[in-house]
């Protein structure tokens, strides 16, 4: 079986399902979403790192296994690449629900 190249897979992924969820509780406000991806694990992690770096959303960030974490102004941002399931998971946690949602939209939109 021949797999499409990574670019084609990424395009297919972008066209695939993209669902968001968010929540505001007494704990930190959290917003999450996920999207399909055809990227390899390495490509996915590199893209996640670039998204956080280029968007200047994270003053500091760290790659830990499948995940790229960023932190800025009281918010923690996460991109987790689960490419074996063709899945990318995004999460933002912090004090304001609206700001968390904005970070999430920017982060996932640029991915």
């Amino acid at each position: 079986m021949i797999f499409p190249n990574s670019v084609a897979r990424a395009v297919l992924a972008a066209a695939a399902g993209f669902l968001c969820g968010s929540h505001t509780l007494a704990g930190p406000s959290v917003a999450t979403s996920w999207s399909s991806t055809g990227l390899t694990q390495q490509e996915c992690v590199q893209r996640a790192e670039r998204v956080l770096r280029d968007a200047e959303m994270a003053q500091d960030f760290e790659v830990v296994g499948q995940s790229v974490f960023g932190g800025t102004g009281g918010y923690t941002l996460l991109v987790r690449c689960i490419t074996e399931k063709e899945l990318v998971y995004f999460a933002v946690g912090g004090p304001s629900h609206d700001q968390a949602q904005r970070y999430l939209t920017t982060m996932s939109g640029k991915f």
């Binding site: 999450t32 996920w34 830990v64 995940s67 932190g71 009281g74 899945l87 946690g93 912090g94």
Partner: protein, 218 residues
């Protein structure tokens, strides 16, 4: 019989998958500040230190450096604002301090504290805010063959059993729960055969305990 074996295999595989799935986490950013006050409203403070003991030592040193006698640390603070007010009427003694989420609140309360201590002309002498602390975040995922409805039901059950029962709520493909300052999500991505677990809160160790309690019982 076949169904029973298959069910047991599935349970075993799920357990293995749960054990093998990587639970990854980001520690919160952490900074501490301290305020030390001596006789007659002499004071010193510190900001953005890596740990509380260093912040305390620096505040005491600053207080002594400003000719403070009998300096003591009156408060430490982390990710919030501090204000210190003293009585400018010339008398030695009245002062007040406060830590609050905003600078304005801290200043207001510090002035009130000073007035309640007998100050007649209390003014803010120092205020400082630490950058808000980024929360710790930890995630995990497992594979599942459950359908969306069954997955959500189980998600709700594991959050309950993990004690994440405050404001338990099903929303879309997710179940949210809370325990104190910790927010948890179990998200059923049934189309991918994946269940995502997420816990966010002030301390990584506690977040991981909540995460393990939820994902380990799924």
């Amino acid at each position: 019989m076949i169904g029973s074996v298959r069910a047991r295999c599935f349970t075993l595989l799920s357990a293995i998958a749960a054990a093998l799935a990587w639970a990854l986490a980001a520690p919160p950013s952490h900074a501490d500040g301290a305020l030390a006050v001596g006789n007659c409203g002499a004071f010193g403070y510190s900001l953005n230190y890596d740990n509380e003991s260093t912040a305390r030592r620096r505040a005491l040193r600053e207080c002594s450096r400003h000719k403070g006698r009998n300096c003591n640390v009156v408060t430490t603070f982390d990710g919030i604002c501090m204000a210190f007010a003293v009585d400018n009427s010339g008398r030695c003694g009245a002062w007040g301090w406060a830590t609050r989420p905003t600078r304005a609140e801290a200043e207001d309360v510090a002035v009130k504290e000073c007035q309640e201590a007998g100050g007649e002309s209390c003014r803010v002498q120092a205020q400082a805010c630490e950058a808000p602390r980024t929360p710790a975040m930890t995630t995990n995922w497992i594979t599942t063959e459950l359908g969306p409805k069954e997955c959500l039901e189980r998600a709700e059950a594991v959050l309950k059993s993990a004690g994440l029962t405050e404001k338990l709520e099903v929303s879309g493909d997710s179940v949210w729960g809370e325990h104190g300052n910790y927010t948890a999500q179990v998200r059923c991505i049934a189309g991918k055969g994946v269940v995502m677990f997420l816990v966010v809160g002030p301390k990584l160790e506690e977040a991981q305990i909540h995460l393990q309690a939820a994902s380990g019982n799924f």
